[in-house]
Symmetry: C2
Subunit: 296 residues, 2 copies
């Protein structure tokens, strides 16, 4: 089945790799996960990081779960990364992503994904600076891809985000980005599209439509994030919440575009203060709800 689970819901709540793997298998009924760097920070000292990664790798293997990919979480997204206004931070970000590649390999995975980063208010409002940072980011991604190739990474999945200060953020943006980077990297760079980002109305207006996105970008998609949302904020709700990501919309997209070879990871980001029993119940419900659709 091409429904998987991003592990962001688990941060701080499920710290024992075996307990997490067991819950993913027995309660959330998934055998494919996308690991988040919020469970292991790529910056952590190599030896200890590697020891922790080994524990996750073994536990997930024991339960027959594949760590398909690793992906940036809240911590990584708090920093400007490759779109930082200054050279020092951009170089730090390249180093960070290289460490994330090391972590990915340590976990026995070979796909890495992330949003590129965020521009400052000033840079985002300057056409010249936008162009400069866009081109710099593409160069940096090439360097990261080259490092990834050496280490055994198979693909990089860049996430489209719902912010005008980030690249890419629209279907047209995504097409431009892919045409600028395609065939210029040592390993393939593909797109990760998130239902909640794709349906974000304040930015995308009438283009906040998954069919529109898929018509434009389908051939570049490496993986998908699925979340419930009202389209007004980037909610990352679970599917006990009412929202605009309906069964009908998901089925329509699966039918029209033959998405069966593309994995969709449920990515729920609960508030830190939310009760853990509630969070686990909601993940369980959501995975059941979605698997009905993906099984058809």
């Amino acid at each position: 089945m091409n429904l998987g689970l991003n592990l962001s819901f688990a941060i701080k709540r499920l710290q024992d790799p075996e307990e997490l793997a067991k819950k993913c298998k027995n309660e959330f009924k998934t055998d494919r996960v996308q690991f988040t760097w919020d469970l292991i920070d790529p910056w952590w000292p190599e030896l200890q990081r590697s020891e922790l990664a080994q524990r996750y790798k073994e536990s997930f293997k024991k339960y027959g779960i594949s760590i398909d990919a690793t992906f940036g979480g809240l911590a990584a997204y708090s920093y400007p990364q490759l779109l930082s206004s200054n050279e020092i931070q951009r170089r730090i970000s390249v180093e960070f992503f290289k460490r994330a590649i090391d972590l990915t390999i340590e976990l026995g995975s070979d796909i890495i994904g992330t949003p590129i980063g965020g521009m400052s208010y000033i840079d985002a409002h300057s056409v010249n600076r936008r162009d400069y940072l866009y081109n710099r980011a593409i160069e940096d991604i090439r360097e990261i891809a080259s490092y990834g190739e050496k280490k055994g990474i198979r693909e990089i999945h860049i996430e489209a985000t719902p912010l005008e200060s980030e690249f890419p953020h629209s279907p047209e943006d995504t097409l431009q980005f892919m045409s600028d980077i395609e065939n210029t990297t040592q390993i393939p760079v593909k797109m990760l599209i998130d239902w909640g980002h794709a349906l974000y109305k304040p930015l995308l207006k009438e283009k906040a439509d998954m069919i529109y996105w898929l018509n434009k970008c389908k051939r570049y998609i490496g993986s998908i994030h699925i979340q419930q949302t009202d389209g007004l904020f980037d909610r990352h709700w679970d599917f006990t919440m009412p929202g605009i990501v309906t069964k009908e919309k998901i089925e329509e997209s699966l039918n029209i575009f033959e998405l069966n070879h593309i994995i969709q990871y449920l990515e729920v980001v609960p508030a830190f203060e939310e009760n853990s029993d509630d969070v686990f119940n909601k993940i369980k419900y959501s995975m059941g709800y979605l698997s009905d659709i993906f099984h058809k």
Copy 2:
């Protein structure tokens, strides 16, 4: 004036230290800020981190703004830190806080603050594990305080959070924690109380009351976070939002407890996708609204 500004609202939006300092002074009318580790990650390589810190230090100095303290942000709060279920991560966390101390000194500041960390679901439900991790965290804080003393840190401010899986999270908890740690550290450990955490009803019920908190804990408070909230989640809203942190409540607390020597930092955490012009306008409005109260 004892109203200051936590810089979390600025992450990614204001990346140029001079621009940030200028806005703090001229638009937000503050001369005291609490720097967030979301602007500079303590994990970043020392030389580059130090160079970036220098830029902030000089810019804030130029505008006559004091970096009173540094404080953990979203990134640091995404990890279990000192309450991690495993020894490796607890040691990593001690190293992280030592690096945060280095960063604080690099910024020319001498107070550091943070929540302690978060227990896993399993640990939080075990009395023995709670006791063990609580005592371990206190030992670790003593080690961190000792390192801080050597480097020139004056005080550590531990934040009470609205989660039962974290220490401390209630007025009684806070008293216990302070009596266990008081006079056992090389530099004073005090509390940071957050209005939104103190008024969080799902956890605290009838004790979700700032007067109750202050009656219990006032003498241990080193600094305060102020945010608007509805008491149902840890909102970190600005003061354009309607909520339960009213002028009357703030004034009442200031009058009863003579809080004038204690700094209160506005800590707003907007959604990443919120428009930056809106964010800046809301900070400006909120600082004006609050300064009317604090000026009296």
